[in-house]
């Protein structure tokens, strides 16, 4: 019997019992669709996080005070001393490295922002003019912090979009004076509305020169230093240099932590990919269930078509041929189920994408492939037993319907 004829015969017997065929296809396609939709969601979450990171800035290396140990509590806590502060001089020293293109020191605090009778508690970010580039922020009106000596604290500030709205409404803000804590600052610019990025709402920030922030909060230490490497290839070099320079300046003590954005990103990427695979795997269980259903229905089909099988044997079909016919049926069924499932899955993903536009929902290619192959695999695997049973039927008994 030719392969094409085998499939045509199998197709004929599938069409011969449309309800049974449709139900099995439905089970198969729900399984495939579940895998596609769930992995699409997982993949969407992963890409969302990756996007969030890239809005933070590119080729970033972050220097923070204190040594983060992988386990237990830091040595500083054990000996009762806190790690040495990072100062503005430390930050400027980093620029000695060739691998480092720009730096932006950061000091964070909170203060009361007021204008006339209006006042509000805000997060104040002390930094330099390079922050705009390093953090990929964009200015809406006016200009950003002026470049120049970073030790010099000018009384100027840049408002987040929402702060400007709250204090000034639709009035002109640039050029006006506001009060921040016990000092007066002149508004020189307003940030463009950017929404949320990694949990920090730039819309609700007030940015002032880092030296002014030190005066305002009466401190000389930095919260962290954002370092931008020359390019992607220099990230490791920049990390190494930053560490070495800090060790040198802190009299040989490694009391800072330098992390690369890539490392953080890679961790998130790994976690979310694993999560996607886990969710996909759980969905794949429904495929196995569909497989069991196929086996069950195939066994019933063998019993129902026992006379037909007996006849085929009498007409000269060897057991192998009967097996092939049942495999072909399972293969056709699984293929049709997969195709329907893919359509359903992609449709579902698109709908979710419409409901949550922020989430870049799209199923990863490996999940789609895996779903299809699992469907085909389980379909054929679970038809092995029914097919063998059919092939081993005694033709005399089968013809008699026994």
């Amino acid at each position: 019997m030719k392969l094409a004829d085998t499939f045509q015969f199998a197709y004929g017997s599938l069409r011969g019992s449309p309800t049974r065929t449709l139900l099995m296809m439905l089970a198969m396609s729900i399984g495939v669709a579940a895998v596609v939709v769930l992995t699409a969601l997982g993949e969407g979450a992963r890409r969302y996080v990756v996007n969030q990171f890239s809005t933070l800035g590119t080729n970033l290396v972050i220097v923070l005070p204190g040594r983060t140990e992988t386990a237990g509590i830091g040595p500083g806590l054990m000996s009762g001393q806190t790690p040495r502060d990072i100062t503005l001089d430390d930050a400027q020293a980093l620029l000695r490295s060739r691998a480092i293109k720009r730096i932006a020191p950061l000091t964070v605090g909170s203060a009361t922002l007021s204008r006339g009778a209006l006042n509000r508690e805000v997060v104040v970010l002390g930094s330099t003019s390079d922050l705009l580039e390093v953090r990929h922020m964009s200015i809406g009106i006016g200009r950003f912090l002026p470049a120049g000596d970073i030790q010099e604290g000018a009384s100027v500030c840049v408002l987040g979009n929402q702060m400007k709205q709250e204090l000034f409404g639709n009035e002109q803000a640039v050029g006006q004076w506001v009060r921040l804590g016990d000092r007066r600052f002149r508004v020189i610019g307003v940030l463009a509305s950017q929404g949320e990025s990694m949990g920090m709402r730039t819309d609700e920030l007030v940015i002032i020169p880092v030296a002014s922030a030190h005066q305002l909060f009466n401190t000389s230490s930095l919260f962290r230093i954002l370092v931008e490497a020359r390019n992607r290839d220099y990230i490791e070099q920049a990390k190494h240099d930053a560490e070495e320079i800090m060790v040198q300046r802190h009299s040989g003590e490694r009391d800072v932590t330098v992390i690369t954005q890539d490392a953080v990103l890679a961790t998130f990427d790994r976690i979310l990919t694993t999560l996607t695979m886990a969710v996909g795997g759980i969905a794949a269980i429904s495929l196995a269930v569909a497989g069991v259903l196929i086996m069950n229905v195939m066994l019933i089909a063998v019993a129902q078509r026992i006379k037909e099988i007996g006849l085929l044997k009498a007409l000269g079909a060897p057991g192998k041929q009967i097996r092939m016919l049942f495999f072909a049926e399972a293969a056709l069924l699984s293929t049709a189920g997969s195709v329907a499932g893919l359509a359903l899955g992609y449709g579902g993903s698109m709908i979710i994408g419409q409901i949550y536009p922020a989430l870049p929902v799209s199923p990863p290619w490996w999940a789609v492939l895996a779903a299809c192959f699992t469907a085909l695999g389980t379909g054929i695997l679970f038809s092995v037993w029914p097919a063998r049973r059919a092939a081993r039927l005694d033709p005399v008994a089968a013809l008699a319907g026994r």
């Binding site: 019997m1 030719k2 004829d5 015969f9 004929g12 017997s13 069409r15 011969g16 006379k307 037909e308 007996g310 006849l311 085929l312 044997k313 009498a314 007409l315 000269g316 079909a317 060897p318 057991g319 192998k320 041929q321 033709p395 005399v396 013809l399």
Partner: protein, 226 residues
């Protein structure tokens, strides 16, 4: 050309041994017309299944065209069935979802014959059996006589050397039964060997050679002289 030598067949039913064939010896020449008669349970159907390679003897040898077919494996036996043996059943055994023409085509499909040749052969056969206008009908749209004619067309489409008919008129009324029988007898002119199992003495008497069976044994073997 067909020879059964000391063929025995026993079944195990529950914990009891039932003997369907006891030491049967039969020699059948090409082109013979044989009827097997006997009461139910006499072993005549088992004999037919044995001749059609649907059943294997518990002991003994079956020679077909001089070759021993007893020891062939499943695939080889299937091939012999496909190429040399045609079956006609009491209850027709047509596949209900296939049309008359497709039912006749089935053995050709199993044999792997190309589609164009299949169509041509089926068409010729359908015309010969007067079924041309019924080719696209499903079995449930056909009368009993038509169904058996389709079944005979299917049994002969591979040009077998032996045609085995198990109560071919059992499900038909008298007139239709005779018509079907005449159709089968007409095949003798093409040199086919025809074996008919029946419990109807009138039908059995038409065959040139008649054997009677009882309790798994051949009790009489008569040749009708013309």
């Amino acid at each position: 050309m067909i020879e059964l030598q000391n063929v025995c067949r026993t079944f195990t039913v529950g914990d009891q041994q039932v003997t369907a064939l006891r030491d049967v010896n039969l020699r059948l020449d090409a082109g013979e017309y044989l009827s097997i008669m006997g009461p139910s349970g006499s072993g005549k159907s088992t004999m037919l299944n044995m001749l059609g390679l649907l059943d294997r003897p518990t002991s003994g040898t079956y020679l077909l065209d001089g070759g021993n077919v007893t020891d062939l494996n499943d695939e080889q036996q299937a091939r012999v069935r496909r190429e040399k043996i045609g079956f006609v059943f009491q209850s027709f055994h047509l596949v209900p979802r296939l049309t008359a023409a497709q039912n006749v085509e089935l053995p050709l499909i199993l044999a792997g014959i190309p589609a164009e040749e299949r169509k041509a052969r089926v068409q010729v056969l359908m015309r010969n059996y007067g079924l041309s206008d019924r080719a696209d009908h499903k079995p449930d749209q056909l009368s009993g006589g038509q169904r058996q004619r389709v079944a005979i067309a299917r049994a002969t489409v591979m040009n077998p050397t032996v045609l085995l008919a198990d109560e071919p008129t059992g499900n038909l009324d008298r007139t239709t039964g005779w018509e079907v029988l005449k159709l089968l007898e007409g095949l003798l002119e093409q040199g086919i060997t025809l074996v008919v199992v029946t419990h109807d003495a009138e039908i059995g008497a038409r065959a040139r050679r008649q054997i009677h069976m009882l309790d798994g044994r051949i009790v009489s073997d008569e040749r009708r002289t013309k």
